[in-house]
C-alpha cells in the first residue's frame, strides 16, 4: 500500500518532457518533487504564474509571490506572470497538457466531485471546475476510501458534481485505474495489495486489465 508520497511518485511517472502541468492542492502538489531526471516540465499556478520554482530560502520569502495553495514559492529561469483571466484562458484553450487534482469522489464514467459537502463543508470550487471542463488529461490523486472506510470510487457521485466524464486516470494508495467504457480498469496494484482487496474497496464498476502488474515507483 502506498503513502501519499508514493501516490505522488507514481503520478510523476506520467510526466513527459515539455509538458505544461497544473497541480492541485494536497497530494498533487507533491508530484513536483518527483519529476524524473532528464525531463523538463513547466508548472502552471492558476493565480498567475508559469514556471513555479521551489520554496524560497527564508530571507527570500516574498508576499507577492505565492502559488495557488497560497504558499510562498519562487520563479525559475523562463517564468512568466499574468492575470487570472489569461491564466484560465490558457487552461480553457487546452494549452495545459496535464492536470492533477484531488477528489472526494470519482465515478466509473469519469465524473468528479470535490468542492462541497452539503450542510457540512463548503470551500468552493476554486479553479477546479474550469480545469476539469477543459483539460485534455486529468489524473486524480486521492485515497481509495474515506475516513469512514467507504469507497470513493463509485458508480455515481453522491456529492455535488465538479465536472462530468472528465477524469482519465485515478491513482490511489491501492493502485492505478484508467477510466474506460467498462468502468475503472485496474492496470497496476500497489506493492503488497491484493486484487481481491481492491475489488472489496471499489464500489464502482471494476475490471482488471489482462496485463495488470505490480506498480514500480522507484
Amino acid at each position: 500500500m502506498l503513502d501519499k508520497f508514493g501516490i505522488a511518485k507514481r503520478i510523476a511517472k506520467e510526466l513527459q518532457d515539455g509538458y505544461y502541468v497544473n497541480l492541485g492542492i494536497g497530494i498533487p502538489t507533491l508530484v513536483a518533487n518527483y519529476v524524473p531526471h532528464g525531463i523538463e516540465v513547466i508548472l502552471q499556478s492558476e493565480n498567475g504564474l508559469l514556471g513555479i520554482g521551489p520554496f524560497p530560502f527564508e530571507e527570500d520569502v516574498d508576499a507577492d509571490l505565492i502559488n495557488a495553495g497560497k504558499q510562498t514559492v519562487t520563479t525559475t529561469k523562463g517564468s512568466s506572470f499574468f492575470d487570472s483571466a489569461m491564466s484560465f484562458g490558457m487552461i480553457r484553450s487546452g494549452r495545459v497538457d496535464l492536470t492533477v487534482l484531488g477528489a472526494m469522489e470519482v465515478a466509473d464514467n469519469g465524473d468528479i466531485a470535490n468542492w462541497k459537502i452539503p450542510g457540512k463543508m463548503v470551500k468552493g470550487m476554486g479553479g477546479a471546475m474550469d480545469l476539469v471542463a477543459s483539460a485534455k488529461n486529468i489524473i486524480v490523486a486521492m485515497q481509495h476510501v474515506n475516513k469512514a472506510g467507504e469507497s470513493k470510487l463509485l458508480n455515481k457521485c453522491s456529492l455535488p458534481i465538479t465536472g462530468l466524464g472528465c477524469v482519465k486516470k485515478v491513482v490511489t494508495e491501492l493502485g492505478v485505474f484508467d477510466i474506460t467504457a467498462e468502468g475503472f480498469k485496474c492496470i497496476e496494484y500497489a506493492p503488497g495489495v491484493g486484487l481481491d482487496y481492491i475489488k472489496e474497496k471499489t464500489l464502482g464498476r471494476l475490471v482488471i486489465a489482462d496485463d495488470v502488474r505490480e506498480m514500480s515507483i522507484d
Binding site: 507577492d64 497560497k70 487570472s84 468542492w115 474550469d130 471542463a133 477543459s134 455535488p160
Partner: protein, 232 residues
C-alpha cells in the same frame, strides 16, 4: 486637468454607501487593497455585495468585513481559509454565490471589454449551471455567464502614476487588472505613486483610462497565509 489622486483610503471610498456592490482584487491575501478594506470597516457601511476570489482569513482581508457583518452577499470561488465565513454561510446569515475561478475572472474581463456575456464550459452539468442558458458549439456544451455589474472596483497595484496607469508585481497581479477594468468607479491603492512619464508605457498593465481614483497606500502588512521555505 486630470484629477484622480486622492489623499487616502477614506477619501477614495467617500461615496460608497450601504447596499453597494464592490469588487475587491487579490488572491487569498496576496495583492488585496489593505488600506481600503480598513477604511470600509471603519466607515461601517452595511449590506454590501462583495465580489472577490476569496473571503480573506478570520482576522485579515475581507474577513474583517465579515466579522463586522458588513457583507450581505459574497461572490467568490474559494472560501476555505475562513472559518467565520463558513459559519455564517452554513447558518444562512450570509448569502453566498460560489462560482468557478475562471468564470469569475472572465466575467470581470468581459465587463472591462464591453462584452455583455461569455460562454464557458466550466460548471456544465453542475449546480453552477442551474437556471443558466446553455449553448452548443462544435458539439460541446457551454454556459452563458454575464459580465459583472459593479458599482465600485477596489484594487491594489505596485506602482501607479497620477494618470492612473498601473503596474502590478508578481502574483499580486491576479484579479487586480481585471477588476480595475470592471467597476463603474475604479479605486486604486498603490505602494508607489509617481508622476506621468516615470513609468515605461510598454510596461503598463492597466491604462489609466480605467482608473477614477488613485492614492498611495501606507503601512502594508502583506500578510502571508502559508510561509513555506527551503532550508539551507
Amino acid at each position: 486637468m486630470l484629477k484622480k489622486v486622492v489623499k487616502n483610503a477614506e477619501e477614495a471610498i467617500i461615496d460608497i454607501t450601504d447596499g453597494a456592490t464592490i469588487m475587491l482584487g487579490g488572491f487569498g491575501l496576496c495583492g488585496i487593497p489593505e488600506n481600503s478594506i480598513t477604511a470600509l470597516v471603519n466607515k461601517g457601511i452595511k449590506n454590501l455585495t462583495c465580489i472577490s476570489n476569496n473571503a480573506g482569513v478570520d482576522d485579515f482581508g475581507i474577513g474583517l468585513m465579515l466579522k463586522t457583518r458588513q457583507v450581505k452577499k459574497m461572490i467568490a470561488s474559494y472560501v476555505g481559509e475562513n472559518a467565520e465565513f463558513e459559519r455564517q454561510l452554513l447558518s444562512g446569515e450570509l448569502e453566498v454565490e460560489l462560482i468557478p475561478q475562471g468564470t469569475l475572472a472572465t466575467r470581470c474581463m468581459a465587463a472591462g471589454y464591453g462584452i455583455p456575456a461569455i460562454y464557458t464550459p466550466a460548471g456544465v452539468g453542475t449546480e453552477v449551471a442551474e437556471g443558466k442558458e446553455t449553448r452548443e458549439f462544435d458539439g460541446k456544451t457551454y454556459l452563458m455567464e454575464h459580465a459583472f455589474k459593479s458599482d465600485f472596483a477596489i484594487v491594489k497595484a505596485w506602482k501607479g502614476d497620477t494618470h492612473g496607469n498601473l503596474i502590478f508585481r508578481a502574483t499580486s497581479r491576479n484579479f487586480n487588472p481585471l477588476m480595475a477594468m470592471a467597476g463603474k468607479i475604479t479605486i486604486v491603492e498603490v505602494e508607489e505613486l509617481v508622476q506621468p512619464g516615470e513609468l515605461d508605457p510598454d510596461m503598463i498593465h492597466t491604462p489609466g483610462i480605467y482608473v477614477n481614483r488613485i492614492f498611495k497606500g501606507v503601512n502594508y502588512e502583506k500578510r502571508i497565509e502559508q510561509v513555506t521555505v527551503t532550508k539551507r
